[in-house]
């Protein structure tokens, strides 16, 4: 991921080998949008957070190393989120992709779901929606290592 790569200061707990590290990718062309979501995820996730500013950067990151969770904007310059979704489905293992978009239409939802998205969040979103997404991720994957235990 060029330029925007950002390892979370909380990444890893010092006990897990790097191969088992949990990674979350935030793909959004809006820096302010990535910062907002990253700040929320740092509160509740024990994972390395990486950022991508467009679809090409996102695919480079996804091909370079495994990600457990991807927050993917639809409207990005160059390769858009739907094209990323198409290509992501061929990855093994395929990450859990949540679409984050400013366009709330049933057509967009159906298209994203058909391409394999597991969640759909519309901007601007509430903090509750992000927690709901993580709760759903836990239920669907049973990957308890990604989320910080509730205090």
């Amino acid at each position: 991921v060029s330029g925007g790569a950002m390892a979370d200061e909380n990444a890893g707990d010092g006990t897990s080998p790097a191969a088992d590290a949990r990674r979350v990718l935030l793909a959004d062309d809006s820096r302010a949008g990535r910062d907002l979501l990253a700040s929320m995820l740092r509160q509740v996730c024990v994972a390395e957070l990486l950022e991508a500013g467009d679809g090409h950067e996102a695919m480079l990151a996804l091909r370079a190393q495994p990600f457990q969770l991807v927050f993917l904007d639809i409207e990005m310059p160059g390769m858009d989120g739907l094209e990323v979704l198409r290509q992501v489905s061929a990855l093994q293992p395929a990450p859990y992709v949540v679409v984050v978009t400013a366009h709330a239409s049933a057509v967009n939802v159906k298209q994203a779901l058909e391409l394999g998205a597991r969640g759909f969040v519309v901007k601007p979103y509430s903090a509750q929606r992000i927690l709901d997404v993580l709760r759903r991720y836990l239920t669907d994957t049973r990957d308890t290592a990604l989320v910080r235990p509730a205090r």
Binding site: S30, R31, A32, G33, D35, L36, S39, M40, R42, Q43, V44, E75, V98, A102, A104, S105, A106, V107, V109, K110, L113, R118, G119, F120, V121, V122, K123, P124, Y125, S126, A127, Q128, R129, I130, L131, D132, V133, R136
Partner: protein, 203 residues
Amino acid sequence: VNAKLPPLPLVVAGAVPRTAQAALRRAGARLHHADGTDQALGAALAHDALLVVVAPAFAADGTLAALLDATGRGGDLLVVGARGQPGARCAWRGLARRFRRRARERRRAEAVFAARPGWAAMVQAYRAHLGERMIDLARACCAGDASAALRVVHDVKGTAGGYGFGQLTAASTQAQDHFLLGDTAAGFAASERLMRQAEEALR
């Protein structure tokens, strides 16, 4: 839910009894009405609704339930009909209680994130970013460049609410919708409104 707090969004679709709607308003809900499955889904997503309350006819074929479930909102669908009506599965009192519970969850989630380290500095940085974006928008409007204006309003729509500038969401959404529909005159007019509101917010 504290009556002084702003109402929270909820989507109502179909012939949901007025008594139920009144109970939800008293519980602190701001009702958004939808007519049709796609509209109900779109409204639930666009308004980040706490619950989607529908008449039995809207839930009969399971399409709305499946779509809401697939988007992570499976537990937010409630079917409410007139007493004795086939398919009515939720008591009105229980409905208001359910709404209050989701509202409490939302306030708690907001409290968790409001305390995040460095948040005040992030908001300050966003204020500067917003000011720069408004200059970009003014330039785009002066040049009659609808594509550039759309990029700005799209960015503001997606981020302003998250940084505490929720009052800019409506104008940026309007501007975005006009530009996407090709009505550039209305888009530029909505952009002007957005710039005025942003100036107020940043003062």
